[in-house]
Subunit: 261 residues, 2 copies
């Protein structure tokens, strides 16, 4: 699905509405994405870019659930793009190899870090300019605008891509991260000064406690908050943290949360 247009122009390919959200599928060049907006319409509102997790895609239930809070709860726009090799995008031979190695390691109970860290770092190198081109294109829409507030939210692979993105992109002024090894991210984290909310699992069997604390410590942000929840990696309390992230973004992007639920 190669676009005939400039890589920076946004093409809407489908639209629908449900549960108070207007959903528009789009492409920017070869990259497919989705833009959720308040169905009630809006003059101009902040935009939140969301990064999905490894093996997921732009319309994964965790993306939909978080978007619902931000769109109907805060009146924001939310955009998600498929990461390289994810969702509607083709997988390269390198992608296939990384996924196969990861499955082998998981099946054998071996550490994932040696595979996930370089795999996600490679995806981030591709994804950061894609996100920047997507943001360029989204800001041409009158309901978003070139000077409106922009936030970012993404855990796990969404953090592996998001940390270098936020470090590189001054238009993003608040970010939610978590659940990722620091190895490839500490240097970028040291360049981030915007408010950050960071989640970790206190008893994470994959990412050691000290590694989580080290990544949180690395952010240069004057305003940053760590949320450490008891439990293992998949005990992450998704709903509580998604609610908290929505309130954090609402505070920093300058709109009131209109619904606590």
């Amino acid at each position: 699905m190669h676009s005939l247009h400039s890589p920076h122009s946004l093409q809407f390919t489908a639209e629908s509405s449900s549960n108070g959200m207007h959903e528009r599928d789009f492409t920017v060049g070869d990259v497919p994405g989705v833009l959720w907006s308040p169905a009630s319409g809006t003059d101009r509102a902040p935009l939140v870019l969301m990064g999905h997790g490894g093996g997921a895609h732009k319309k994964h239930p965790s993306m939909l659930g978080r978007a619902q809070r931000l769109v109907t709860g805060c009146g924001f726009h939310v955009a998600v793009i498929d990461a390289p090799g994810h969702g509607d995008r083709p997988r390269s031979a390198q992608d296939e190899q990384a996924v196969a190695e990861l499955r082998t390691a998981q099946a054998a109970g071996e550490p994932e870090r040696p595979i996930v860290v370089p795999y996600n770092a490679r995806l981030a190198e591709i994804a950061v300019p894609e996100w920047q081109a997507t943001l360029d294109a989204l800001q041409e829409l009158p309901e978003i605008g070139a000077d409106g507030p922009v936030g970012y939210a993404g855990i796990a692979m969404g953090t592996a891509i998001g940390v270098p993105l936020v470090a590189a992109e001054p238009r993003i002024t608040a970010a939610v991260f978590g659940l990722m090894w620091p190895d490839a991210l500490v240097e970028a984290a040291k360049r981030i000064t915007v408010p950050v909310e960071f989640a970790m699992q206190w008893d994470d069997e994959r990412i050691p406690r000290d590694a989580c604390l080290a990544l949180f410590d690395a952010f240069a942000s004057k305003e940053k908050t760590l949320h450490a929840n008891a439990g293992k990696h998949f005990d992450y309390p998704r709903f509580v943290e998604a609610d908290s992230a929505a309130r954090f973004l609402a505070r920093h992007l300058g709109e009131a949360v209109t619904s606590a639920a």
Copy 2:
């Protein structure tokens, strides 16, 4: 102001209403307290016990602000009693000595821990049975009842008293703590199994980071969350954390938050 009644009977001494809160001053034996309840009236609602900080008192603005969230936001009752030597209570010679030593240390820029930890541990020994007698008396009120949900919230000295209280008191089923050294509290924390939300300051100049993490780690609770905020001791983001505490208590005491503000 010695009571003529049994130390376990509750005497209301004054009442007023403002901002949607009905305020009743009370005594239980020699201990003065305040009970805030929804002005709209209520059949029966959860009760939150709140512990004030060192040098403060039962109607300190931080207590009033937190009570407002819980009473008008969640429909709860909130009770605070003056800690020994605080508010309307007489100071003993030992209290006077501890306060004088603390002021000397603060003026000289010397560590507060060697004074605060044993001072607060001594107050906790007195305050825990006072809180238990107060809870006995409050549960005789029909709008609270003997089997209703009970929570606790208190940081700093409110944690020094609250951790041994919650460890000793099975009627308390959720607790908010923070900003205190672990020294006198770790053994009691290990006996606490109810959900806990714990706040620390990441760059606290008084309480070392490792000490904060050690106290959080000590709680035996299966469900516990650490909130670590960037900044020094007095940079603690009171309003954000008070909002979060109200939502935490609303989740665990079984009522819906009716207002996010």
